[in-house]
C-alpha cells in the first residue's frame, strides 16, 4: 500500500505541463521548470549534508584555531583511521547489494594476526603472507555468501557467527595474547613498517600525476549537472571557470600543497583502493548489476541478472577488503592484539551509511563513505581538542555516529 502511495504523489509535483504520451516540445516551459526544480533540488539535496559538515569543520576551526586547523595533525587522523575506512569500504560492498556482512571485524582481526604471526612464528616471506591474508578474506566471504544466498540463512546470524568464528581462530592461533615482534624474533619487513608509519610520505611524482587526472575527472563529472539549454561553448567556459576558482581556493585557502606533501603511503593505499572500488561500482557491468540487485532484488531476477552469484561476489570482495583492513591494522600498530578491529565495526558501518547523504541522493557511494568517515573522525578529534576528557571518547563517538547517521536517515527519507 505504501508503495502505491509513494508513487502516486510525486507525479503531481513533477511539472504541471507534463503529459503522458504527448510528443516533446523543445520550447515547452517544462525545460525551465526542470532546471529550477529538478536540477536545483537535486544539487541542494545531495550537497546539503556535505555543506553541513564543512560548516561544522569551519565552526570548530574558528573555535579551536591553530590547534584544530593543523594540516599535519588532521592528516595524521586520517592516517590512523585508514584501517577503519577500509573496513567501511568492506561494509559498503555488501550494503550496495542489499545485504550486509557483520563478519568484517572478525576477518580483519584474523588477517591482522596472520600478517604479524606468520612472520614471527612461521617466518613466511611477507609477500606470500599478504596473498594468504587476502585469500582468507575471499574464502570467508565466499562461505558467508553461500550461507546467505544458497542456504538462505539469516544474514544477521550467519555473518555474526562467522565473525566470531574468525576471532576464535585468531585467538587459538595466537594463544589469545598480543603478538609483538620484538628483539629476538623475526621482524616485520622494514618497508611494511614504513608503510604504516606516518613519517613516510607518498612520492611527489605520484601526486603530480594524480592532480591533472583529478582535474580532468571533475571536468567531465560536472556534465551530470549540465543545465538544459546552455550551449556547449557556454558550458565549457563555465566549467573551466569553476575549475579555476576551485584550484585557486584549494591552493591558497586550503593549502593544497601541504595536504599533498603530507599524504602518507597508507593514505595513498586507501585512496587507490577507493578509486578502484568506485570504478568497479560505477563503470562495470558487475557494479551496475549489484546496484540493481540492491535496489530491487525481484526486479533484478526478472531482468535476468545472475543475482545470487553477484551477491556472493560482493561478500568475497567485502571479505578481501576486510582482510586488507587487517593488514593495515598490522601496519599501523606493528603488532597484533586481540580484538583490534572489534570497536571498528560500528564506525565502519556508520561511514557506509553516511555515504547515502553525502553528495548522493539515497545511494551508497564510495567517495561518500570516505568523506563521511573522515569527517566523523575529525569532529571526534575536535571535541577532544576542545577539552572533552579522553575518557569520554567512546561517548563522543557514539553520539556523533548516532547524530550523523540519524541526520543521514532523516535527509534520505525526505529526499
Amino acid at each position: 500500500m505504501s508503495q502505491d502511495f509513494g508513487t502516486s504523489t510525486p507525479p503531481a509535483e513533477v511539472s504541471p505541463t507534463q503529459s503522458d504520451g504527448a510528443p516533446l516540445r523543445q520550447d515547452s516551459p517544462r525545460s525551465i521548470s526542470a532546471l529550477g526544480t529538478g536540477l536545483g533540488k537535486r544539487v541542494v539535496e545531495s550537497g546539503l549534508s556535505f555543506v553541513a559538515f564543512i560548516l561544522l569543520f569551519a565552526g570548530f576551526g574558528i573555535w579551536l584555531r591553530g590547534n584544530f586547523l593543523n594540516i599535519d595533525a588532521r592528516l595524521l587522523d586520517i592516517h590512523q583511521n585508514v584501517p577503519i575506512l577500509l573496513m567501511s569500504l568492506a561494509a559498503l560492498t555488501t550494503l550496495i547489494a542489499g545485504a550486509f556482512d557483520l563478519s568484517i571485524a572478525g576477518v580483519a582481526d584474523l588477517s591482522c594476526y596472520l600478517a604479524v604471526g606468520l612472520v614471527v612464528k612461521q617466518h613466511f616471506p611477507f609477500a606470500l603472507i599478504v596473498v594468504i591474508c587476502i585469500a582468507v578474506g575471499l574464502v570467508i566471504g565466499f562461505i558467508n555468501g553461500v550461507l546467505v544466498e544458497r542456504l538462505h540463512m539469516n544474514p544477521f546470524i550467519a555473518t555474526l557467527a562467522m565473525g566470531t568464528l574468525c576471532e576464535g581462530v585468531a585467538a587459538v592461533y595466537s594463544g589469545g595474547v598480543l603478538i609483538n615482534p620484538s628483539g629476538g624474533t623475526a621482524q616485520l619487513p622494514k618497508w611494511f613498517l614504513d608503510l604504516g608509519s606516518y613519517q613516510h610520505k607518498a612520492p611527489e611524482w605520484l601526486i603530480a600525476i594524480s592532480l591533472p587526472v583529478a582535474a580532468i575527472a571533475i571536468f567531465f563529472a560536472l556534465d551530470h549537472v549540465h543545465p538544459q539549454g546552455w550551449s556547449q561553448k557556454r558550458w565549457i567556459g563555465a566549467k573551466l571557470l569553476l575549475l579555476g576558482v576551485l584550484a585557486l581556493l584549494l591552493v591558497f585557502v586550503f593549502r593544497l600543497s601541504r595536504w599533498l606533501s603530507g599524504t602518507s603511503w597508507l593514505i595513498l593505499v586507501l585512496l587507490i583502493a577507493a578509486l578502484l572500488l568506485w570504478l568497479l561500482f560505477e563503470y562495470t557491468t558487475f557494479g551496475r548489476q549489484v546496484r540493481a540487485i540492491g535496489s530491487n532484488r525481484e526486479a533484478a531476477t526478472l531482468v535476468g541478472l545472475p543475482v545470487r552469484r553477484q551477491v556472493v561476489k560482493t561478500f568475497m570482495l567485502g571479505g578481501a577488503l576486510a582482510a586488507l583492513a587487517g593488514i593495515a591494522f598490522a601496519a599501523t600498530q606493528g603488532s597484533a592484539s586481540p580484538g583490534v578491529a572489534d570497536t571498528a565495526l560500528l564506525p565502519a558501518f556508520a561511514g557506509a551509511f553516511l555515504s547515502t547523504v553525502i553528495l548522493s541522493r539515497g545511494r551508497f557511494t564510495v567517495p561518500g563513505t570516505i568523506i563521511g568517515g573522515i569527517f566523523v573522525v575529525w569532529i571526534g578529534t575536535a571535541l577532544i581538542i576542545g577539552g572533552v576528557s579522553s575518557n569520554w571518547t567512546d561517548v563522543v563517538n557514539g553520539v556523533i555516529l548516532i547524530m550523523a547517521v540519524g541526520f543521514a536517515t532523516v535527509m534520505r527519507r525526505k529526499a
Binding site: P11, G21, S295, V303
Partner: protein, 492 residues
C-alpha cells in the same frame, strides 16, 4: 451519471448512506477519475464493474483514504468526510486480507482492536473468544475460534476478515476483487454470505470481474470505464448480453490490428512442450517470429507463471521450454510494475540500461558511459518518456512513464522474444495505444511477442491469436478476431 443528480432532494438520508459527489483524481496529466457521482443507500448490495485501469481501484483507494481526491466530496450519512477509512462503521476487504497466518481466528479478530483486559496488562482471552464466536456466526462460518488461521481455506479466511469487520461494528462493507483468487464454490459461499449480510441491513459494495456473481447476487450494477460511470442501474431486468456488450465495446476501441498474420512460413523461436507450472495443466505453445500471441485469465490463474516459464525465470515442474534459435535472447516486462520492475533508488538511465549492459562494454570490461547515455537518450525520445531526463530519479516518474522505461529496458536488450505481462496495467488511454503500436512494431520487425494479460483489451487490440485460461486449463489458441462473446465474458 444522472443518478447523482437525483440524490440532491432531501429524501430521508440515513446514517449509512454513502454519497460521492463529482469526485475527480488526476495523476499528473492522467485523469484517472473524471467526475464520479454515486449514491449508495444503507442496506444496498452494489456491484462495481469495469475493465482494468478503469479507475475502480483508484476510486476505492480514495474512499479508503489512501489517495486524496483532486476535487469532489465524499459524504457519509449527509456529513462531509475526507474519506471513509478509519471509520469503524466502514470496512474494506482487499485481496490481501491483512490476517496473520500464525495466529488463531480469535487472536486475528482481536488484532488492532482495543484490548480487553482482566487485570492490568493481563488479557481477557475468554471475552475475546466469545466475541469472535459471535462474529463468526454472523458470516455463517462454523469453525472453532481456536483454529490456526493457516488451517483455513482461502474462502474461510475471507469470511474471517469480514467477521472481524462485523465484530468492530462495520455497517458498510467494501469488498475489492476478493473473489478473484477463490475457487468457484468458495467464491459463491462468500457472495452468499455477503448477500445475507445485505439482507440484514449491511451496505455491501463488491468489485468483481465475474459477471455471474454480480448478476445473481447484487441489487444494482455500476459500470466504470475510463474514469467515468457509464452505467448505473438495478440488476433486476439487466440483460446479461447487454452488459457484456457494454464492457466489450469500450475495450475494443483503439485497436491497432494490422492483420499481418498471414505469413505461415514464419520461423518458430520458442516452444513449450507439455510445460507444467503452478496448478495449471500441461501447456503446449509455440512462439513464431513476427507474431503476437496473447493469453488471458484471472489474476491468480497462473497466467504470469506461464510468462515466467517462457522467459526462463521459472523452471517448469514438467516438460521443456525449447529455444529454437541459438543464442536466443528474451526480455520480460513484469506484471507488477512497482515491486517487480522498478529500481527505485536508481536513475532512469540505470533503470533502462540494466538488462543490456554488455552492449556498452569495451575490451577493458569498463562500461562506455557515453555510448550508453546516447542509446538511452534515443530510447527516451522514441518512447516519449516525460520528463526526458536520464539522471532523474526513477521514482519521480508517473506510472505510465515508468512503464515506458521498463519497455525501453526490454527494447535495449534487443531480444528475439518479448514476454509482456500486463503491458498496459495502470496506464492512461494515450499511453495505452502507444504501447499497442509499439508491440505491433516489435512483431513487424521480426520478434516474437507473448502478451500475458488479465485485461481483455490487450488481447483484442494487438494479439494475432489468443487463448484463455479457464479453471486450470489453457484453452486452444484461436485467432483473436474469431473470439465470440461468451469467450469474451470469460475474460472480463
Amino acid at each position: 451519471m444522472s443518478q447523482g443528480a437525483e440524490t440532491t432532494p432531501p429524501m430521508s438520508v440515513s446514517a449509512d448512506d454513502v454519497e460521492v459527489l463529482n469526485l475527480t483524481k488526476a495523476f499528473g496529466s492522467n485523469r484517472a477519475l473524471k467526475g464520479i457521482n454515486l449514491t449508495i443507500r444503507g442496506g444496498e448490495f452494489v456491484g462495481l464493474m469495469g475493465p482494468n485501469g478503469a479507475g475502480k481501484s483508484t476510486l476505492l483507494k480514495i474512499l479508503a483514504g489512501v489517495y486524496s481526491a483532486t476535487s469532489g466530496e465524499i459524504r457519509l450519512g449527509a456529513r462531509s468526510v475526507p474519506s471513509l477509512g478509519g471509520n469503524p462503521g466502514v470496512g474494506f476487504i482487499h485481496q490481501d486480507l491483512g490476517l496473520a497466518e500464525g495466529l488463531t481466528i480469535a487472536e486475528n479478530m482481536s488484532l488492532g482492536a482495543p484490548p480487553k483486559r482482566l487485570v492490568g496488562p493481563i488479557l481477557n482471552k475468554r471475552a475475546e473468544r466469545e466475541e469472535a464466536t459471535r462474529a463468526l456466526t454472523r458470516v455463517g462460518l462454523d469453525r472453532d475460534v481456536n483454529t490456526m488461521l493457516s488451517e483455513l481455506t482461502a474462502g474461510e479466511k475471507a469470511l474471517v476478515a469480514i467477521a472481524r469487520l462485523f465484530g468492530r461494528g462495520a455497517q458498510i462493507l467494501i469488498v475489492d476483487e476478493t473473489t478473484s483468487t477463490l475457487s468457484p464454490p468458495e467464491a459463491n459461499r462468500l457472495i452468499t454470505s455477503l448477500a445475507a449480510a445485505a439482507k440484514n441491513g449491511v451496505t455491501v459494495v463488491v468489485v468483481s470481474h465475474k459477471l455471474h456473481e454480480i448478476l445473481e447476487a447484487t441489487e444494482r450494477v455500476v459500470v466504470l470505464i475510463d474514469g467515468a460511470i457509464v452505467a448505473d442501474e438495478p440488476t433486476k431486468g439487466l440483460d446479461r448480453a447487454a452488459l457484456v456488450e457494454l464492457l466489450r465495446q469500450q475495450e475494443t476501441a483503439g485497436s491497432v490490428h494490422t492483420g499481418s498474420t498471414a505469413e505461415g512460413s514464419a520461423e518458430d523461436l520458442i516452444e513449450l512442450r507439455d510445460v507444467q507450472v503452478g496448478k495449471l495443466d500441461p501447456i503446449n505453445l509455440t512462439l513464431k517470429a513476427g507474431e503476437v500471441v496473447g493469453i488471458s485469465g484471472m489474476v491468480a490463474s497462473g497466467l504470469h507463471e506461464i510468462a515466467y516459464a517462457v522467459n526462463g525465470n521459472l523452471k517448469p515442474k514438467h516438460g521443456r521450454v525449447v529455444l529454437l534459435r541459438p543464442g536466443l535472447k528474451r526480455a520480460l516486462v513484469p506484471p507488477h510494475r512497482e515491486t517487480q520492475g522498478c529500481f527505485g533508488g536508481l536513475s532512469v538511465r540505470e533503470n533502462m540500461a540494466v538488462a543490456a549492459l554488455p552492449r556498452w562494454r569495451s575490451l577493458s570490461r569498463i562500461l562506455n558511459r557515453r555510448r550508453e547515455t546516447l542509446d538511452c537518450e534515443t530510447m527516451v525520445r522514441d518512447l516519449s518518456v516525460q520528463p526526458p531526463e536520464l539522471d532523474q530519479h526513477f521514482d519521480v516518474l508517473s506510472g505510465g512513464n515508468k512503464q515506458k522505461v521498463i519497455f525501453g529496458r526490454a527494447l535495449l536488450r534487443q531480444p528475439d522474444v518479448y514476454v509482456l505481462c500486463e503491458p498496459t496495467r495502470g496506464v492512461d488511454v494515450g499511453t495505452r495505444s502507444e504501447i499497442y503500436r509499439l508491440i505491433r512494431g516489435l512483431a513487424n520487425n521480426g520478434a516474437a511477442v507473448l502478451v500475458a494479460s488479465s485485461d481483455a483489451e490487450d488481447l483484442l487490440s494487438v494479439c494475432d491469436k489468443s487463448a484463455i485460461i479457464v479453471g486450470n486449463t489453457l484453452r486452444p489458441f484461436r485467432p483473436t478476431a474469431e473470439l465470440d462473446a461468451s469467450e469474451m465474458e470469460l475474460m472480463v
